[in-house]
């Protein structure tokens, strides 16, 4: 038997070593803490976590907010990616800069900026009142809607860029061919364009959902302590309740959800790729 190790593999070694030390090892220790009790290995912490109504409420909110954030980001990102793919010259540069530059801005700054916009005397309420849509300021700050809007803004580039990459590689003659065969615009979109761009949609959704489900700073600043998410529960368990088994358990639950999303999206993307 001959084991071949390509020299190119060496390029991955520093990255893998780094990940092994700062990610895999702590992760294993974390998982061990979630099942280790003075009496031996046990899943009791998991049982206690899932039996608590408050925890279930937090889990449901986290999943709901992540799903809505992903949906909103997708609705904005999909047409944006097509506009970017069609853009040429300086317009393309403008689009790319508009997508990438905000990523250099700290998430705290963005979350704080949204909290200013959502205030009773903030821009959104003033604009809605000015347009006569509302007469009294609406409560926006510290609401789940505000959180979804703010999070979608922060994660938008991670949805746009994968879709843009796919749209850019799409053969634009295919929808035209469908049109020449008499397909209506709706038919062309749902049966030609959308299936061809689905791998980008799946990748972007996986990115966005994974980040939205584990966000900490954004909910801390936009909705505060009364509407906790799983990440906030983890911080609370480790830092304030000083309950490491509980914190480790919640971390493991969050990790399991993230792995499920990544693996499912990977399988889905592969199937879609194979179909095409």
């Amino acid at each position: 038997m001959t084991a071949r190790v390509d020299r190119i593999a060496l390029l991955a070694v520093p990255g893998l070593a780094y990940l092994a030390v700062v990610y895999a090892l702590p992760l294993l220790l974390l998982l061990a803490k979630s099942v280790r009790t003075p009496d031996g290995l046990s899943l009791a912490e998991y049982g206690a976590f899932f039996a608590d109504d408050y925890n279930m409420g937090v889990l449901a909110r986290t999943l709901r907010v992540a799903a809505l954030t992903t949906l909103l980001a997708l609705l904005i990102a999909y047409p944006t990616a097509f506009a970017m793919a069609r853009a040429r010259g300086p317009w393309l540069t403008v689009f790319l800069v508009a997508m990438v530059l905000p990523m250099s801005l700290g998430v705290v700054v963005k979350a704080f900026a949204w909290s200013i916009l959502f205030r009773a005397n903030g821009f959104l309420n003033t604009a809605l009142q000015g347009l006569g849509i509302i007469t009294e300021p609406m409560r926006m700050l510290f609401t789940e809607t505000a959180l979804v809007v703010g999070a979608a803004n922060v994660f938008l580039p991670f949805m746009v860029l994968p879709i843009y990459a796919v749209v850019r590689q799409m053969d634009s003659r295919l929808p035209e061919a469908a049109a020449s065969l008499g397909a209506s615009p709706w038919f062309r979109f749902f049966h030609v364009t959308l299936p061809l761009t689905l791998p980008g949609v799946v990748a972007g959704s996986a990115f966005t959902f994974s980040m939205a489900i584990s966000m900490y700073v954004i909910p801390s600043l936009i909705v505060g302590e009364r509407q906790q998410t799983l990440s906030m529960l983890i911080a609370r368990s480790f830092l304030y309740l000083r309950n490491e088994p509980l914190g480790s358990t919640i971390s493991a639950v969050l990790l399991a959800i993230a792995i499920l999303v990544v693996v499912s999206s990977s399988v889905l993307a592969r199937r879609l790729g194979a179909r095409q």
Binding site: M1, T2, A3, R4, V5, D6, R7, A9, L10, V13, P14, L16, A17, Y18, A20, V21, V22, Y54, G57, F112, S115, R119, A120, N121, R139, L141, F142, S220, L221, V223, G224, E225, R226, Q227, Q228, R236, F238, L239, Y240, L241, R242, N243
Partner: protein, 350 residues
């Protein structure tokens, strides 16, 4: 069996390279460790202004020390100390009394002695705790901060519960030490007992806190954001706010003030301690000595509108006249705080 690959790269050499890369990654923190003139201090986020303006230059001048400080919550400082127990990187920590008690219980502190820290002898007797495990340095007082454009004053803590305040109040989480003030005042108002007895009436406190829910815009764990909302008029009152943060903002011309309601106010339990086994022990005791000395105490007390613990200092904040100032049973708080945080979060959840 080690087999030679097509490119002359063996499995063993790959493993060696991986091991070297991992060792390099592990060794990096050692390269970044503090130099001998550097001292890492933990403190509260709200200390940042006076740490930068007063403490850092003072320590450079008097001790020749470069102070690196990490501003965060007392509970987070405790977790940092506990997690790095075998190899501490913090030398000194400034945190609140209830968390100090936990730190003592977990054997994370080294005692402060008058031999090493002579300025300790000038402190009020009640500022030295558990035979010198920690000392209070300056103490702000806490009441209710309010927006002066929206409210003329806050004569009573009962104002937090008034129907006019619906959706216009923010209170601190019990994760923050200042969160205890609303809890204890709810205990007094809910039980009708004086503070000395009411502080143990926690069921009455939570029942009264539940009545506060319609008036809450939010519960904060980051004070700066909540205070900003007060300054902008998004809320009218911020419960549990303290003099070292609110009064300097008032002095800057921001439309806020700090009320000392008739039922009483609270003394913030700001303490300083030495980390057991922390680096640069000599420099650390020098730092604590300076923090307890008259010159720096006067400067911090003035800057942060706080009451100095050093009896030779006459500067600093004046406790408002005619109101009782309370200091709770911190041992009782320390014993029950985790349970209270859990109960509070569940009670206040939307």
């Amino acid at each position: 069996m080690t087999l030679i690959s097509r490119n002359g790269l063996t499995r063993r050499s790959l493993l060696k390279t991986s091991a070297l890369a991992a060792a390099g990654t592990l060794a990096t923190p050692a390269l970044l460790r503090a130099q001998s003139s550097e001292l890492v201090a933990g403190c509260a986020g709200s200390h940042t202004a006076w740490m930068e303006a007063l403490v850092v230059p003072h320590m450079k001048k008097t001790l020749g020390a470069d102070i690196l400080f990490e501003g965060t919550k007392s509970s987070v400082n405790l977790e940092k100390m506990a997690s790095n127990r075998d190899n501490p990187y913090l030398s000194v920590v400034q945190m609140d009394d209830p968390v100090m008690i936990q730190a003592v219980e977990e054997d994370l502190l080294a005692p402060i002695t008058a031999e090493a820290v002579p300025n300790m002898t000038d402190l009020r007797p009640d500022a030295v705790h558990m035979d010198g495990m920690w000392c209070n340095y300056v103490q702000p007082w806490a009441g209710i901060a309010y927006n002066t454009d929206l409210t003329e004053g806050v004569p009573s803590w009962q104002a937090l519960w008034s129907p006019e305040a619906q959706g216009r109040i923010i209170i601190p989480s019990l994760q923050n030490t200042e969160g205890m003030w609303t809890l204890f005042m709810a205990a007094m108002l809910g039980s009708g007992k004086p503070f000395a007895e009411a502080q143990y009436e926690i069921d009455a406190a939570f029942a009264k806190l539940e009545e506060l829910k319609p008036n809450l815009l939010s519960v904060y764990s980051t004070m700066s954001q909540a205070f900003n909302l007060l300054e902008q008029g998004e809320i009218s009152m911020l419960s549990g706010s303290f003099s070292s943060y609110a009064l300097p903002r008032k002095a800057e011309g921001v439309p806020v003030d700090l009320a000392a309601p008739q039922e009483g106010i609270f003394a913030m339990p700001s303490g300083i301690c030495l980390v057991k086994g922390g680096p640069n022990a000599e420099l650390a005791t020098g730092y604590v000595n300076e923090m307890l000395g008259a010159e720096l105490q006067a400067a911090i007390a003035d800057f942060a509108t706080s009451v100095p613990a050093n009896t030779t200092v006459t500067a600093g904040a004046v406790i408002p006249d005619g109101v009782q100032i309370y200091s709770p049973d911190w041992a009782f708080v320390s014993q029950n705080r985790r349970e209270w945080i859990d109960r509070f979060d569940k009670l206040m959840a939307i």
